[in-house]
C-alpha cells in the first residue's frame, strides 16, 4: 500500500474533462452573445437566452473551474504530502460523478428546471449530487493530508482546505429549499432575506471557488515553474487569514441601494475596500517572487501566463472594491460594466492560471514534452486579446449606458427612454461576440496542442522526473 505510485491517471482524466466542459462553456457563451444581438437566434423553448445563459455560467464555474480545481488539487496534494492519494477508488467515483452531475445540470437547465438563483440555478436533486461530489473530494484531500510525509503544510494546502470548507458551507446554506416536485422547489428564504443569502453565497463562491483555489495553484506552480521559492511565507500567511476573514462580509455589495438593511450594505462596502490588502498581498508576493527572475517572462511561456494571471487578479481586486462603493455602484450597477468585470476575472485571472497549471501538468502526467511552445504562445495572445476586446468594449458600453440612464433635461425629466439607451449597446455587443470568438480560437489552439502532445509529443527525458521529486 505505501509503495503505491502517485495516481496521475485521475489527474489526466480530470484535465481532459475540465477542458471539454471549458469548451462547452465558451461555445455556449458565444451563442448567447449572438442571441443578444440577433434575437431570431433564440429557438424556444429550449434554446433561448434565458435558459442558455445559466448553462454558460455553470459550465464555466462547475465544469471548467471546478474541473481544473479537481485536476490540480489531486496532483498537488500528492506532491506536497509526498504520498499517493488516500483512495484511488473514491477519486474514480468522483470523476464519474462529476461528469454525471455536469451533464444532469446541463440537461435540466435546458428543460427549464431552475431555481433562478445566480450560479446556483440547478434544482434540488442536482444540489444533492453536488454535495455528494464535494464530500467525496473533501474526504480524499483531507485524508491524504492527514497521512502526509511532510509535517509542514505548504500554503497551497491551506487554501485548499479553506476552499473545501467554504464552498461546503456556502453551497448548502444557499441550497435550502422546500421541494414542490422532483424538479421544482421554493427557496427556504423569502424576498430580502433570500437576496441577502444568495449574494452571501454568490460573492463568496467567487472567493472560495474562483479565488482561493487559483491562489493555491499560483502559489504552487509559480515557484515550480521559475525554480525559485515564493518571496515571503509570512506575507502569504497574513494574506490567507485576512482574505478568508474579510470576504464573508462583502456579499451585500451586490445589493447596494436595494431593500437590504443599510448597515449590511455599509459593512459590505467597507470590507470590500479592505479586501484590497490581502488580495494585493498575494499579488505582491507573486511579483516579488520574480525578483531576479524577470528574464523568465521572455524565456518561459508558463511564467507569462502566471504573471499575467496574477496581474488580472490584481486589477480585478481593485475594480471590484471600486464597484462596491455606493456612489460608483449607483452609476454602474445593472449595466454591461458588470459582466465585463466578471469576465476579466474568469477569462483573465482564473483561466490564465488554469491554462498554465495544465501546461505544467501535461509533461508530468503524460511523460511527454509539450508539442509546441509557439502554439502555446499563440494561444496566450489569442486569449489575452480576446478577453481585452470583450472586457474593454463592455466597460465602455456600461459607462455609456449608465450616463444615458442618468441624463436629465433642464426641467428635471429624463433625457432618454430605456430603448434609446439600449440600442446604443448593439455595436459593443457585436464587439463582445468578436472578442469571444478570438478567445474561443485560443481555446481551440490549446486543445489542439494538448491533443498533439498526448498523441505525438516527444517522450520526456528522465531527468525532469527526478528534479520533480524534490516536492
Amino acid at each position: 500500500m505505501e509503495n503505491r505510485a502517485y495516481n496521475y491517471a485521475i489527474v489526466r482524466s480530470f484535465v481532459t474533462w475540465s477542458v471539454i466542459w471549458g469548451l462547452v462553456a465558451v461555445l455556449v457563451g458565444v451563442i448567447v452573445s449572438l442571441q443578444m444581438v440577433e434575437p431570431d437566434l433564440n429557438f424556444p423553448p429550449y434554446l433561448t437566452f434565458g435558459r442558455l445563459r445559466p448553462i454558460h455560467t455553470n459550465a464555466g464555474i462547475y465544469g471548467w473551474g471546478v474541473g481544473v480545481i479537481f485536476a490540480t488539487f489531486l496532483y498537488i496534494v500528492q506532491r506536497l504530502c509526498k504520498t499517493p492519494l488516500w483512495s484511488d477508488k473514491l477519486a474514480k467515483f468522483q470523476l464519474w460523478f462529476f461528469n454525471a452531475t455536469i451533464i444532469a445540470s446541463a440537461v435540466t437547465l435546458l428543460l427549464g428546471y431552475t431555481t433562478s438563483k445566480e450560479y446556483h440555478e440547478m434544482e434540488w436533486p442536482i444540489d444533492v449530487m453536488i454535495v455528494i461530489l464535494w464530500v467525496a473530494f473533501a474526504i480524499n484531500i483531507v485524508m491524504t493530508i492527514l497521512k502526509r510525509k511532510d509535517e509542514q503544510m505548504y500554503i497551497s494546502l491551506w487554501y485548499m482546505l479553506a476552499a473545501i470548507i467554504g464552498v461546503a458551507i456556502l453551497f448548502t446554506v444557499n441550497a435550502a429549499a422546500v421541494p414542490a416536485s422532483l424538479f421544482k422547489s421554493y427557496s427556504a428564504y423569502a424576498g430580502t432575506n433570500d437576496a441577502n443569502v444568495e449574494w452571501w453565497f454568490g460573492h463568496n463562491a467567487v472567493a472560495m471557488a474562483l479565488t482561493a483555489p487559483p491562489l493555491a495553484m499560483f502559489y504552487y506552480f509559480l515557484p515550480k515553474t521559475t525554480g525559485v521559492p515564493i518571496y515571503s511565507h509570512r506575507l502569504s500567511i497574513t494574506a490567507f487569514w485576512s482574505l478568508i476573514f474579510m470576504y464573508l462580509w462583502t456579499g451585500a455589495h451586490h445589493l447596494l441601494w436595494t431593500p437590504v438593511p443599510d448597515w449590511i450594505q455599509t459593512l459590505a462596502m467597507g470590507f470590500s475596500v479592505m479586501l484590497i490588502a490581502p488580495s494585493w498581498g498575494s499579488v505582491f508576493n507573486g511579483y516579488l517572487s520574480m525578483n531576479g527572475q524577470w528574464h523568465q517572462m521572455r524565456e518561459n511561456y508558463l511564467v507569462k501566463y502566471l504573471i499575467l494571471g496574477i496581474t488580472f487578479y490584481g486589477l480585478q481586486t481593485l475594480q471590484g472594491p471600486m464597484q462596491a462603493i455606493r456612489t460608483f455602484s449607483a452609476f454602474i450597477h445593472y449595466t454591461d460594466w458588470v459582466p465585463a468585470h466578471i469576465h476579466m476575472g474568469t477569462m483573465g485571472w482564473v483561466s490564465m492560471i488554469s491554462f498554465a497549471s495544465i501546461y505544467f501538468l501535461i509533461p508530468r502526467i503524460y511523460g511527454r514534452e509539450v508539442y509546441s511552445i509557439p502554439l502555446a504562445n499563440l494561444q496566450f495572445w489569442l486569449i489575452l486579446v480576446g478577453q481585452l476586446i470583450w472586457s474593454i468594449s463592455l466597460w465602455i458600453a456600461g459607462v455609456l449606458q449608465a450616463g444615458m440612464w442618468n441624463a436629465m433635461n433642464p426641467d428635471g425629466s429624463l433625457t432618454y427612454t430605456f430603448m434609446e439607451t439600449m440600442v446604443e449597446m448593439y455595436p459593443y455587443w457585436w464587439a463582445r461576440v468578436f472578442g469571444g470568438l478570438i478567445y474561443m480560437a485560443g481555446l481551440v489552439v490549446f486543445i489542439y496542442n494538448l491533443y498533439m502532445t498526448v498523441s505525438k509529443g516527444k517522450p520526456l527525458a528522465t531527468q525532469t522526473a527526478s528534479v520533480e521529486g524534490r516536492a
Binding site: T114, I165, Y247, W405, M408
Partner: protein, 291 residues
C-alpha cells in the same frame, strides 16, 4: 502551529469564515421580514399569478430584467417608487436580478393594459422596434395544469379557493405570465401617490408652429405612442388618434398623467417639453401643411 495541524487549521478557518457569515447573513433574519418591515396591503400571489411567476423563473427572465427600483432619482423617475423590503415577503425565490439588458419590472403592474402584454410577449419587436427580447408567443400553446398549481400553492402555504383552481382550466401559460406582470409592484398604492398634479394654467408653447417644425417630432411619437395607437395613429390597442377634438391642455394632461383605469400610462418622465411636442404632433401633424 496550524501549519502542522490540518484539523486545527480546518477548525480555525471555519471559525474565521463564520464570523462575517453570522453578522451579515444570519443576524439580519432578526429584522428582515418581521413586523419591522411589514407593509399593509402586500398580498400573497394568486394561483394564476404564482404560476406566471414560476414560468418567469423557468424561462430565465431574471437574466435580463431586474425587479428592484433603487432610491435614486433616475431609477424612480424611470420606473416608479423605490422598492421596499416588505413588498417581497412572499417572493420565493427573490427575483431582483443583477443586469438590466431590458428595463426593470418591479413597478410594471398596471402600467399597460393586458392587451399590450399579450402582443408584446407574442412579438416584442412589433411593439418595441430594435428590442432584442426573444418571442414568447409559444406560451399560449401550453395549457395550465390546475392540479400541479394547487400542489404548489399548498407547498407555499398561500391561500386559494377551489373556484380559483377550477378557473385555471383552459387558461394558458401566457395568461399566467400576463397576470403576474400585472401584479408586479402594485400591492402598494404608489401610482396614486406619485400621480402628478398639474397646477396653474397650461399654455401650448408650440401653438401654431409649422408642419416642417413638427416633422422631427414624429420620432417621439413612433417611440412612445405608435405601439398602442398605430404607426399612423390609426389605433391598435389604444384608440385612433385622428379626429379627436381635445383641447391642447386636456391632451397634455392625458399624456402627462395617463389614464389610470384606461390603460394609458403616464408619460410625465418625458418632461413637459416633449409632451407638448407630442400634443402638437398628435393633434396637428396629420392635418398637413397650412392647417
Amino acid at each position: 502551529m496550524w501549519e502542522k495541524k490540518p484539523v486545527l487549521l480546518i477548525v480555525l478557518a471555519t471559525g474565521v469564515i463564520l464570523i462575517g457569515t453570522i453578522i451579515t447573513m444570519v443576524l439580519p433574519f432578526a429584522w428582515v421580514n418581521t413586523e419591522a418591515d411589514r407593509i399593509e396591503g402586500v398580498k400573497p400571489y394568486s394561483a394564476l399569478q404564482q404560476e406566471g411567476r414560476d414560468i418567469y423563473i423557468r424561462e430565465g427572465c431574471n437574466n435580463c430584467h431586474t425587479q428592484t427600483v433603487r432610491p435614486l432619482v433616475s431609477d424612480v423617475l424611470r420606473y416608479g417608487d423605490y422598492s421596499k423590503s416588505g413588498e417581497f415577503v412572499y417572493d420565493r425565490p427573490f427575483l431582483w436580478g443583477s443586469k438590466r439588458t431590458g428595463p426593470d419590472l418591479a413597478r410594471l403592474g398596471g402600467k399597460y393594459p393586458d392587451a399590450w402584454h399579450y402582443q408584446h410577449m407574442e412579438s416584442p419587436r412589433a411593439m418595441v422596434p430594435k428590442s432584442n427580447m426573444p418571442d414568447y408567443g409559444w406560451l399560449s400553446a401550453n395549457q395550465l395544469d390546475p392540479q400541479v398549481i394547487q400542489h404548489k400553492m399548498e407547498t407555499l402555504g398561500f391561500p386559494f379557493t377551489a373556484e380559483e383552481i377550477n378557473a385555471l382550466k383552459g387558461k394558458t401559460e401566457m395568461d399566467a405570465m400576463v397576470a403576474y406582470m400585472q401584479k408586479l409592484g402594485s400591492d402598494i398604492p404608489w401610482r396614486q401617490n406619485a400621480k402628478t398634479e398639474i397646477v396653474g394654467d397650461l399654455t401650448n408653447p408650440y401653438a401654431g408652429v409649422g408642419h416642417a417644425t413638427m416633422e422631427p417630432w414624429e420620432e417621439l411619437y413612433q417611440q412612445n405612442c405608435a405601439a398602442c395607437h398605430g404607426e399612423h395613429m390609426e389605433g391598435v390597442i389604444g384608440p385612433e388618434l385622428i379626429g379627436g377634438d381635445y383641447d391642447d391642455e386636456v391632451l397634455f394632461e392625458i399624456i402627462y398623467t395617463g389614464i389610470a383605469d384606461g390603460g394609458m400610462p403616464s408619460f410625465s418622465n418625458l418632461g413637459t417639453d416633449k409632451v407638448w411636442k407630442l400634443v402638437n404632433f398628435v393633434k396637428y401633424y396629420h392635418l398637413g401643411e397650412g392647417h
